[in-house]
């Protein structure tokens, strides 16, 4: 056996985390079957019950993979690069491609094992009847296996480009969530016509595993309008084609750089605009509108400003003013395009549906951005040794935490405010919607507050940023995405009450319900959700404060 595979796999299996994952997964699948196994003497000839179990089972596996898969490959290369063991490996007689594939099999092997562990439960579903082995079970597993491989390759690609484990983890989660969720949006907007945009969005949608899995589980119609051409490839087929090519491309690119090049790092020359000749200075200042020049020597932290707030912005990859402006501009344009589409009425959708899409986009931004901004607030400092230095300054613990929290809230506010034009246009088209729009905005503010405080609290509980990031993503994805699965099974097996209870945990679902998006009109979520968000945010704040005080006390 390849020595790398052996070491990687043994490393993973030795961890308590992997043991806990295996046990949890086995118990969850066993419970699922136990709960839905027929106890009556009557036989369910329609196979409806088996399909219900199988659907939950399929979506559950997909969610587990999306949430867990990036955690393993994302740090595998960069961690070894930082520790210096990758250089030792390159210096050994093992060819580089063997090291790469050894690591790939090592990290994906554990995920494959988790998938294989679910097979007995899947077979039990098959035995319940009503499920086809070749039409449903086999395609589902093929999609999930390809997805696992794709995520492992993607994670290693990101890892090979990164310089820190937590940075690699954040980037991998961002890319995966963008590929999984955001790739669906263009098709939702352009479907139903035969334009080039529709064709492009149709292929873009195929990057996400969601349409493929939904089609296999009999939910392919959700979110679709009109009838697709019969000649087109089905969703799983497109998924295999697009992701197979993408996986191959990423693999080739990583292999191309999987040698001494991986250690090459461009160092900025440190040439500032201030030191350039007058003509270049004027040119750059005009080009960057005086404020957004990345090579402008900063004027220093102004009086009455919390130094930690400025430090947080400066140390973030996208925290500098020129990057913030780019993000805000992108969000504004996206929001205006949506508003324009709603205004022109080119689609059959009304403002309710467009409003729902806007909320989903904002939710995606919140879920994607917040952990990457807030999950390293405290543990990132501890990990880098900065916490000790901060303790040596006369700043009080509350000033440090406040500065850090404000830096995240400012960023989130900028991003959310940039998406407001769409709501303004919507309110202008349908003036009676203003009160609903106000409620939606409150829901989104709650979502942002909750996400920031939960991520910050998690950050104070962990010592490693990578672990805190994964936990934050898992919590937020569980609350903001996971609860929608109950809605997906709103008639069977979950009743109205349970679905309403689960959705009331979700601020995004509450916003969607407020704007009366089809499918959500029957629920009443606002009061309960706001109360729960308040409690959860308050608790997170308490944890954050207590932990910070504990950490800043002399040992």
């Amino acid at each position: 056996m390849n020595a790398i595979i052996k070491r990687e796999l043994i490393d993973v299996f030795r961890t308590k985390k992997s043991f806990a994952m295996q046990v949890t997964l086995a118990v969850v699948f066993a419970l699922l079957l136990l709960l839905r196994w027929p106890t009556e003497s009557q036989v369910d000839l329609s196979g409806k019950r088996a399909q219900e179990v199988f659907r939950i089972f399929g979506y559950g596996l997909l969610t587990v993979l999306i949430l867990m898969a990036p955690a393993f490959p994302a740090a595998t290369v960069v961690r070894e690069k930082i520790k210096g063991t990758l250089a030792l490996l390159f210096n050994s007689p093992i060819p580089n491609w063997q090291i790469y594939f050894g690591k790939l099999v090592g990290v994906s092997g554990f995920l494959f094992l988790l998938l294989i562990m679910s097979l007995p439960s899947a077979m039990a579903c098959l035995c319940l009847g009503g499920i086809s082995l070749t039409q449903e079970l086999l395609p589902l597993y093929l999609v999930l296996f390809l997805l696992t491989l794709h995520y492992a390759v993607l994670g290693m690609w990101v890892s090979s480009l990164s310089n820190s484990s937590d940075g690699a983890l954040r980037a991998t989660y961002l890319i995966i969530l963008a590929l999984t969720v955001l790739s669906l949006v263009p098709y939702l907007l352009f479907q139903g016509s035969e334009s080039l945009l529709t064709a492009l969005s149709w292929w873009m949608r195929s990057v996400s595993p969601i349409p493929a899995v939904m089609e296999i589980l009999g939910h392919g119609f959700i979110g679709s309008q009109g009838v697709e051409k019969a000649t087109q490839l089905d969703a799983p087929g497109r998924f295999f084609l697009v992701n197979g090519m993408l996986t191959l491309a990423l693999m080739v690119d990583t292999l191309y750089r999987f040698n001494h090049k991986i250690f090459d790092r461009v160092r900025a020359s440190g040439t500032m605009t201030n030191d350039m000749n007058v003509a270049t200075q004027i040119g750059r200042r005009l080009l960057f509108m005086f404020f957004f020049d990345p090579r402008q020597r900063s004027i220093g932290i102004l009086p009455l400003v919390n130094p930690v707030l400025i430090k947080e912005f400066r140390t973030r990859k996208f925290g500098r003013s020129h990057w913030l402006m780019r993000i805000v501009a992108f969000c504004s344009i996206a929001s205006l395009i949506l508003a324009y589409l709603a205004t022109m009425g080119t689609l059959d959708w009304g403002p309710d549906v467009i409003g729902g899409i806007m909320i989903m986009l904002q939710a995606a931004l919140i879920v994607l951005f917040t952990p990457s901004l807030a999950a390293g607030l405290i543990c990132g400092e501890i990990e880098s040794g900065g916490w000790q230095l901060l303790q040596m300054t006369p700043m009080r613990a509350y000033q440090i935490v406040l500065g850090k929290l404000l830096s995240v809230f400012w960023t989130m506010s900028l991003v959310l405010c940039a998406t407001l034009p769409g709501y303004v246009v919507m309110g202008w088209i349908v003036p009676e919607k203003w009160s609903q729009i106000n409620q939606v905005l409150i829901c989104l503010v709650w979502a942002a507050v909750f996400s920031v405080l939960v991520s910050a609290a998690v950050s104070s509980l962990f010592r490693k940023t990578a672990a805190a990031t994964v936990t934050s993503y898992a919590i937020l994805a569980g609350v903001c995405i996971g609860t929608f699965f109950f809605w997906l099974f709103r008639d069977a097996p979950f009743g109205h009450g349970l679905v309403e209870s689960m959705l009331s945990l979700n601020p995004i679902a509450t916003a969607i319900q407020v704007i009366e998006t089809p499918g959500f009109e029957t629920y009443d979520l606002v009061g309960t959700n706001w109360l729960l968000m308040g409690i959860a945010s308050g608790l997170s704040l308490v944890i954050l404060v207590v932990q910070t005080l504990r950490l800043s006390r002399p040992q």
């Binding site: 820190s164 160092r267 930690v308 901060l390 002399p554």
Partner: protein
């Protein structure tokens, strides 16, 4: 009367049963440099952390400029500049911005901060790196920036944990000069290092600590005298043939049963003695009278490294003896 800037009195720190620091008492005056030496896990960092207010002593007390390190921790932060052994870098931040942040955190006014950053960059000879990103700096450059950071708020005491660690010889010389110039400017320095020859060139005082206990403390020369009461003398002979004759002569001349080692291949004889300078002169004369052809006759200087090894070995031996005394009698020995 001399002014005590740093003082610890019977400082003890326990983590449960484990005694990390045992009854440590040291003091340091203005402008002095203390070399704080000890193997890994000896209690150096624990002492430093107590001095900078990051840790609380189990018993005893520590003072900087007369202020209690625990009760007046906020004031201590303004008096002490601490450079830990880890740099604590922030990615995506230029050196000037990094210093600007710490300057602001120490409450240096916006108007004065820029000038102060220029000053500390000048002192540490780091002006050329002000626009470079911190994470792209080499280890030596980071050490300079680290010292610049500790100097920002103009502290009276500097505590530097392994400042010469990982530096190349040229950078070490520059670091040594920098530390001496800081001491000359009236700063009191506590420096830990594993590179003992470096410390011996700059320290006024030395504290050797092992297993949490202070083994030796005082001016460098005194420590040397204490740990090395016998002088080591090396005689370089003209020919290897004289080695045996020299050895025999030395045995006859010296009546304090000297430890003589001879190396015919190197034409060299080495011995240890408690004789003073006039005694050594007599030994040389008698050797020449006995027909030994001497090319060189010189005393080998005991350096800090020898002193440290001597102290730590003595400490280990006495700990072992103490443990032996405490051990219950073995089955064979018991009646």
């Amino acid at each position: 009367m001399s002014e005590k800037v740093v003082e610890t009195v019977n400082l003890t720190k326990c983590y449960g049963e484990f005694v990390a620091l045992d009854d440590l008492s040291i003091s340091l005056e203005k402008g002095q440099i203390l070399g704080f030496i000890g193997p890994n896990g000896a209690g150096k960092t624990t002492t430093i952390k107590i001095l900078v207010g990051l840790s609380r002593a189990t018993s005893g007390s520590a003072f900087v400029d007369g202020y209690d390190c625990f009760r007046e921790a906020k004031r201590i932060k303004r008096l002490v500049g601490y450079m830990p052994d880890t740099f604590g870098s922030y990615d995506n931040m230029r050196v000037r911005e990094y210093l600007d942040f710490f300057g602001a955190a120490f409450g240096i006014s916006w108007l004065r901060r820029s000038k102060r950053i220029d000053e500390v960059l000048e002192i540490t000879n780091a002006v050329y790196m002000q626009d470079l990103f911190v994470e792209s700096l080499s280890h030596g450059m980071k050490q300079r920036v680290g010292i610049a950071r500790t100097l920002l708020h103009d502290p009276s005491v500097l505590i530097l944990d392994e400042p010469a660690n990982g530096l190349d010889p040229q950078a070490r010389i520059e670091m040594r000069e920098l530390l001496l110039s800081l001491a000359a400017a009236g700063k009191t320095l506590i420096v830990t290092s594993h590179i003992l020859p470096e410390l011996s060139r700059i320290c006024d005082q030395v504290a050797i600590i092992t297993q949490g206990k202070l083994r030796a403390y005082g001016p460098l020369e005194e420590i040397m005298k204490t740990v090395s009461q016998k002088r080591t003398v090396e005689i370089q002979l003209v020919s290897g043939a004289d080695v045996e004759k020299a050895g025999t002569s030395l045995q006859q001349i010296l009546d304090d049963s000297p430890e003589v080692t001879a190396s015919p291949t190197e034409s060299m004889v080495r011995f240890q003695t408690e004789q003073q300078d006039d005694g050594l002169g007599r030994i040389l004369s008698q050797l020449i009278e006995n027909g030994v052809r001497v090319a060189q006759f010189r005393e080998l200087q005991t350096d800090l490294e020898d002193a440290f090894l001597s102290v730590t070995q003595n400490a280990t031996a006495s700990e072992a003896a103490l443990a032996g005394e405490k051990e219950p009698p073995t089955a064979e020995a018991s009646p």
